[in-house]
């Protein structure tokens, strides 16, 4: 009875109740056939963007950071904006995999693989920027690490938020990658077992780490998965908290704000969900996974976007209130300048994309309308990119001494590297959908009616 009611109240997580073998067949199918035109078109576009970015990066390193539009007053702009943007994108993956797993949100099962992959790729994209922004990356790349060295007592500065970033991001990347890999083991074993080509079989044999599907293996697997989920959970909060410390611990009006940690985390989840949603809309269409990634999944994500969007909206207004309430001359000016100064356009793009536009998700109609969702995900990503741009550039360009106030104009190199980072992201993602199962077959099978009914029936 109860089940029947639930069945009405909650639509099934996998539509059509396919048999288990069909799930395996369908999920593995993109891996086992030659890619179609759509994939090639997307892949070549992404690769071109990556190529453009690579050329720009080579030019940057060969010439100097001066090829960007930065100046004495504005020392960071696109570089750190892109960094925070990509780190933010990376947040949804862990949230979906770990926190929703711990909260027993079963709807995550068909999207967690893609979300985790996206996390890893986004963190890779993010990682480029702290490296590229350095004046001497050839030293900076390893001087940032607390390595034993022959330079006497020289070590890293543990008081610097940039160093905290190094630890936060590398920890996050490591845990996310391990978590992703562990989750892939049963599926990789399935691919191994299906593989016809000997090389393919050999590769997946290695990757599957000798998985045999025994009870013992499953029991170990689930324990490990739970532990990793537990380890990842605090990271969802900590990574963006630490990224926000880059700004919050500084003295610059507009950066020196205690609200930043929760504000940044909310923003990260907001943008991360938008990015996952965007990728899933494309993936389910291109790979015909509508059955597994249902409208229900998408709607749930829209709700998360609506909530986190309002959270960042609250943060924006709190900042303004505090700027006024504090009576601090510099703080007050920084916020007036944000909304009405020369970079006001970026502020209003941010507000309209992040706070105003998600409000349409109050309506179920829009939460279930895929074109609307798709446009919204783009809006949110634009808005969140501009949020970081607003925080970084508008705070810096007019800080304490009016004599040093300055404007910032990006150059083609900065645009090219931004485009290149998207190129890298999509190249990696497109390769991922070709070589690894996009949907966690093993987990999806657990949410099927089939398994449940058996278990249920057995109980009677």
């Amino acid at each position: 009875m109860v089940d029947a009611t639930l069945q009405i109240l909650r639509p099934p997580l996998v539509e059509g109740n396919p048999p288990l073998a069909q799930i395996t067949d369908e999920v593995c199918q993109p891996l086992e056939r030659f890619p179609g035109k759509a994939w090639w078109l997307a892949f070549l576009t992404a690769l071109s963007a990556l190529g453009l970015g690579t050329v720009a990066v080579i030019y940057l390193i060969a010439t100097g950071v001066g090829v960007w539009g930065l100046n004495n007053t504005v020392g960071w702009a696109f570089d750190i904006t892109n960094f925070v943007f990509w780190v933010g994108i990376g947040h949804a993956g862990t949230l979906i995999s770990a926190i929703l797993f711990l909260l027993r949100q079963k709807w995550r099962t068909s999207i967690n693989r893609a979300a985790e992959a996206m996390t890893i790729f986004a963190v890779c994209c993010a990682g480029i920027f702290p490296l590229m922004h350095m004046g001497r990356v050839w030293f900076g790349a390893y001087w940032m690490l607390p390595l034993p060295n022959a330079l006497g007592p020289l070590w890293v500065n543990f008081r610097s938020p940039l160093l905290w970033d190094v630890f936060a991001i590398s920890t996050y990347l490591t845990i996310s990658a391990v978590f992703w890999f562990v989750g892939l083991i049963p599926d990789m074993a399935a691919i191994r077992d299906r593989a016809v080509h000997p090389i393919r079989k050999a590769i997946f044999s290695i990757l599957a780490l000798g998985w045999n599907g025994s009870n013992r293996a499953w029991s170990h697997y689930e324990k490990l998965y739970l532990i990793l989920a537990g380890l990842s959970t605090p990271l969802v909060l900590s990574v963006h908290t630490i990224v926000s410390f880059d700004f919050a611990t500084s003295v610059i009006p507009g950066w020196h704000t205690t609200i930043f940690p929760p504000y940044f985390v909310a923003g990260a989840i907001f943008s991360g969900f938008a990015m996952v949603l965007m990728l899933l809309i494309i993936t389910r269409k291109v790979l015909s996974f509508e059955k597994y990634i249902t409208i229900r999944h998408l709607e749930a994500m829209c709700k998360v976007i609506l909530v986190t969007g309002m959270m960042v909206g609250l943060a924006y207004s709190t900042e303004f209130f505090i700027a006024w309430y504090s009576g601090n001359l510099y703080e007050r000016y920084a916020f007036i300048n944000r909304a009405f100064g020369p970079f006001a356009f970026s502020y209003w793009i941010m507000v309209s994309c992040n706070v105003l536009s998600p409000q349409i998700f109050w309506f179920k109609r829009f939460r279930q309308n895929i074109p609307v969702m798709f446009v919204m995900t783009i809006f949110v990503n634009i808005g969140m990119w501009f949020e970081r741009f607003v925080i970084i550039v508008t705070s810096l360009h007019r800080d304490f001494l009016p004599s040093s106030w300055s404007m910032y104009r990006p150059t083609w190199v900065e645009f090219a590297i931004l485009i290149g980072s998207f190129g890298l992201f999509f190249t990696l993602f497109l390769l991922f959908v070709r070589v690894l199962p996009v949907i966690n077959m093993a987990e999806v099978k657990t949410v099927l009616k089939e398994g449940k009914e058996e278990a249920h029936g057995g109980g009677h």
Binding site: T73, G135, T249, L329
Partner: protein
């Protein structure tokens, strides 16, 4: 480190000589001690000047006594940058000059030296200087050239030698010898600066065509009428020194001079005035007529001025205060006027005379020699040349094709001269029209002397063997006059005959000479009594002539010189081109300044193009909107638009000289009627400061003199102790600090070039300045407050504040910026990876990033680098180090002598050069040091105290000698 002296291994004289090393063999020296000493050898420096001149370059196998590798030697010399002739001390390292500083022994410049003077060092190492003599633009030898020139001169029947007013007795003597040798030769003087009117007025009033000397330190009231005496007029460094003395206030001496400036454009001098009146040249005349009449009535019972004058249409309150102040300070006031009109200058002389200022604040008896010619011979020369009456012309120290209003006419007339010889140091605009070019040395390669003022004689001595195959102009002239002699020998002989005789002669000439070469300067008492004046009788006609003149209606042009570029002689110099104009903050360009009102009326914005046309000339320049300028004045700087200066100076800005006029050989720079029209297009000006207002922030704190006299802390916000998360740094020994007196700083920019020269700061070029990437470690922020039409101006030097709680230090991930035990915020270039986080987090925005590998390809210019300071590569952050190399140099010196560092011994480069003594460096842990006393002053405050950075730089609030009233910035902040 306060126990410096206990390490007595440093007592060894460093650097070690061969004898010392022998001793070392027998001593038990540890490897580390040895290395320490070796390191010291390169870092330490011997103090004191060596009197020995560099006459020959000697290879280092036979090491000359005065050159020790790695040790600085200082030589006294004289500045050849402009005609003011300030005293210099030049730092020489390994036989090459690397830094120019002021000579504190010089009675006029007193250790100050301007931006231009310091910049001329780079012109020494300029590849675009002439490198060999040429005949018909082809390389020749000196022998060939001499033969050809002498042959030409012997044939010539009318020889002219065109020189400026040479403020050098020796050079004048050489010219005289030349003129004496050729019976048909005559010297013609051509001065590009408009000072002739001043001479003519004194000729009429005192019977002497001389420039008077001015003593601004004796004046309690200074009224400047269009005289930019702190930036470019006659002798700005000496004037700034004297002016600043009267502008210093302290609890002990709470009094300062009153400075009123009446001018059309906002000059650097006007920006420092207490009261400022915006007036067109016609209104300036009205002002002077009114002043003469009023003062005449009050001081001599009746006025010598018979004409009726009405009060000028200027702010009556300011006029009243000016008049009252002048009348209250007879003999302690000074009226300075920049006009080149003898009638106007007569009026000025009359007013000064009525006030009893002659003999007190200015003197005719003790004349100045920057200009000794009334310019009347110029017209005659050009006419003679045009009519073919001159068949040989020698150009010595002049470039009239470029810098005369009649340059084009002169160039055309020059074609008719058969023998044209130039002695210029580069193939400039006039030289390229000559057949023979006998290039002169740079002044740092020459022997010469100077007499800037009666009784003040100074010497130039060469700092380096000539870099190129050039010959000193005096030697050339002597050779052509049949008396070939080395400049050193002839100069010494000249001094023996002429100058030594003025000394007490208590010592032999050799001793006298050695002393003067060592000291750089020799003074004799000047004539005491002023000549009799007939000013009252000549003023009436002058005033009548002035009153009869119909004033120009509409726009007038004001041409002026900038502090760094001046007449453009040294334009091939990136330091000078990149030094922002102290008022407009524009680099690498000249432009048409318009007032805020005029720009608004014409709908013009910064960078719009504007065509200025006079009767026969047109010039299109970008617009700069200058608050404080008169609505009917357009101002353009001279010295730009060189075509033959060199790779750097060519084509920077445009030459405005053709817009000027010449009246009986007197250059006219102001009051020129012009028309302006908008031209199509936009032009990007490179500004170092784009926002001019304080936004109500208490960054500049100020008060008025009356308030200050009541309360020494007036206008200064109280500074409460702020809580801090970090523990206090202990500073057991020294703690270095600086005090900046906003009341003294005139904003001239000498410190910026001093710092650039001392610290190997690259020039980045116009394009990079336009993107706000200038590298200057010290900058001068200029703020306007109150009224945009006629604003109150403040100049605020801003450099690394060496914060106690430095925001940059905590954020660097690799510890590339760290705090020293002596309170310095140190930047470790080798460790820096260039995240720029420190610069972002610096509230003062004083950190500078190497965006590129800035060019150090010019190997010759690299000789000007300071070996004590690392040249930074790209990707590295840099900033003011408080001249840490100078601190270390003095520390080693003190250690060697087994004593503590004395207060005032360490002078940072900016402090040393400051003509206003606005910067004081010292140890704040020493309660007796000057800096700690200033830090306790009522005027002391810290910029952005409330951010909690605990800066080591203390600012002393600006005091304005005005009626108390609302003071813009700090007042607002009190309530805000």
């Amino acid at each position: 480190m306060n126990k410096d002296t206990q390490f007595d291994e440093f007592k060894e004289p460093v650097p070690l000589t061969g004898e010392d090393f022998k001793q070392w063999d027998s001593m038990n020296v540890s490897r580390s001690t040895f290395l320490k000493l070796m390191g010291m050898t390169f870092a330490a420096a011997a103090a004191g000047c060596s009197p020995m001149p560099v006459k020959k370059a000697i290879p280092y196998v036979n090491k000359p006594k005065e050159i020790t590798p790695g040790v600085n030697a200082w030589y006294a010399s004289t500045c050849g940058g402009c005609s003011a002739r300030c005293g210099l001390l030049v730092k020489s390292r390994d036989g090459r000059p690397i830094k120019i500083e002021g000579n504190p022994e010089h009675p006029l410049s007193q250790g100050g030296v301007c931006a231009l003077g310091q910049g001329t060092l780079l012109n020494l190492y300029d590849v675009n200087r002439a490198q060999f003599p040429t005949m018909g633009q082809k390389k020749s030898s000196w022998k060939q050239l001499d033969e050809a020139v002498i042959a030409g001169l012997q044939k010539a029947r009318n020889i002219r030698i065109l020189t400026p007013s040479l403020p050098s007795p020796f050079s004048q003597d050489v010219v005289d010898q030349f003129v004496a040798h050729y019976s048909s030769a005559r010297q013609v003087r051509y001065d590009r600066e408009p000072l002739q009117g001043l001479l003519l007025a004194h000729e009429r009033s005192f019977g002497r065509a001389v420039l008077p000397s001015f003593y601004l330190d004796k004046a309690k009231v200074i009224v400047g009428v269009d005289a930019d005496f702190l930036a470019s007029w006659i002798a700005p460094v000496a004037f700034t020194k004297a002016y600043a003395k009267r502008r210093k206030v302290s609890e002990q001496n709470a009094d300062m001079s009153l400075h009123v400036q009446v001018e059309g454009r906002l000059s650097l001098t006007g920006s420092n005035a207490d009261l400022r009146l915006r007036a067109t040249p016609a209104e300036q005349v009205d002002f002077l007529l009114w002043l003469a009449r009023e003062i005449g009535l009050k001081r001599s019972g009746g006025s010598a001025l018979t004409i009726r004058t009405e009060a000028p249409k200027l702010d009556p309150k300011t006029l009243e205060r000016t008049l009252t102040a002048l009348l209250a300070h007879p003999g302690e006031s000074l009226l300075l006027c920049g006009s080149n009109d003898p009638d106007i200058q007569c009026l000025v002389a009359y007013i000064n005379s009525l006030l009893g200022n002659y003999g007190r604040t200015l003197s005719v008896a003790s004349a100045a020699y920057q200009c000794v010619s009334t310019g009347s011979a110029w017209n005659e020369l050009v006419e003679d040349m045009e009519k073919g009456r001159v068949d040989a012309l020698i150009l010595y120290g002049v470039n009239p094709v470029y810098d005369s209003a009649e340059g084009a006419r002169f160039a055309k007339a020059l074609e008719k001269v058969a023998l044209r010889v130039s002695l210029a140091e580069r193939a400039d605009e006039s030289t390229v029209l000559c057949q023979y070019h006998a290039p002169d040395h740079h002044y740092l390669e020459s022997w010469n002397d100077a007499r800037p003022q009666s009784g003040v004689y100074s010497l130039f001595q060469p700092l380096v063997r000539p870099l190129f195959d050039t010959r000193q102009a005096q030697e050339s002239l002597l050779a052509w006059a049949g008396k070939p002699q080395k400049a050193y020998d002839s100069l010494r002989a000249f001094w023996q005959q002429n100058i030594y005789s003025q000394s007490s002669r208590l010592q032999s000439f050799n001793t006298f000479w050695r002393q003067v070469v060592q000291l750089g300067v020799f003074t004799v008492a000047a004539e005491a009594s002023e000549p009799a004046s007939s000013v009252s009788s000549v003023v009436a006609s002058a005033a009548t002539a002035l009153a009869r003149r119909s004033p120009e209606k509409g726009l007038t042009l004001a041409l002026y010189e900038k502090v760094a570029i001046r007449g453009g002689q040294w334009a091939n110099n990136p330091w000078l081109q990149e030094l922002p104009d102290p008022v407009s903050k524009v680099t690498w360009d000249n432009y048409a300044s318009l007032s805020v009102g005029a720009a608004k009326a014409l709908g013009l914005e910064l960078g719009d193009l504007l065509t200025i046309s006079t009767a026969g000339q047109k010039l299109t320049l970008p617009v700069y909107i200058q608050p404080g300028q008169h609505d009917s004045v357009v101002a353009v700087a001279l010295g730009y638009g060189r075509t033959h200066a060199g790779n750097i100076g060519n084509g920077v800005g445009q030459n405005a000289t053709p817009l000027s006029a010449s009246l009986e050989g007197r250059p006219q720079w102001t009051g020129l009627p012009v028309k302006i029209a908008r031209a199509s297009g936009k032009y990007k000006l490179a500004l170092t400061q784009e926002h001019n207002f304080l936004e109500g922030r208490p960054i500049v704190q100020e008060t008025t003199l009356t308030e200050y006299q009541k309360d020494p802390g007036a206008g200064v916000l109280p500074e409460h102790k702020l809580p801090s998360l970090w523990p206090e740094f202990p500073y057991p020994g020294h703690r270095w600090a600086m005090a900046v007196d906003l009341n003294s700083c005139t904003g001239c920019g000498a410190c910026v070039v001093a710092c650039q020269s001392e610290n190997n700061i690259p020039s980045v070029g116009k394009k990079e300045v336009a993107t706000n990437r200038e590298m200057h470690w010290i900058r001068i922020d200029r703020y306007y407050s109150k009224d945009e039409e006629n604003p109150t101006v403040t100049h605020q030097p801003m450099m690394c504040q060496h914060c106690g709680n430095a925001p940059c230090e905590t954020v660097c991930p690799v510890l590339a910026t760290v705090h020293s035990t002596e309170g310095l915020n140190q930047q470790v270039y080798n460790r820096c990876v260039g995240t720029r986080y420190c610069a972002n987090n610096c509230p003062y925005k004083v950190r500078r990033f190497n965006w590129f590998n800035y060019s150090h390809d010019d190997l010759l210019a690299n000789l000007a680098l300071n070996p004590d300071v690392t040249v930074r590569s790209r990707g590295v952050m840099e900033k003011c180090s408080f001249c840490v190399q100078r601190i270390e140099e003095k520390r080693f010196g003190a250690k060697r002598e087994g004593r503590d560092i004395k207060d005032g011994e360490i002078k940072t480069a900016c402090q040393q050069s400051c003509p206003a003594n606005a910067l004081v460096f010292g140890d704040m842990n020493d309660p007796e040091s000057e800096v700690s006393k200033l830090m306790k002053s009522g005027r002391a405050y810290h910029v952005l105290h409330d951010v909690g950075t605990k800066p080591s730089v203390t600012y002393l609030a600006k005091v304005r000698n005005i009626e108390p009233g609302p003071v813009a910035a700090s007042e607002e902040a009190h309530h805000g």
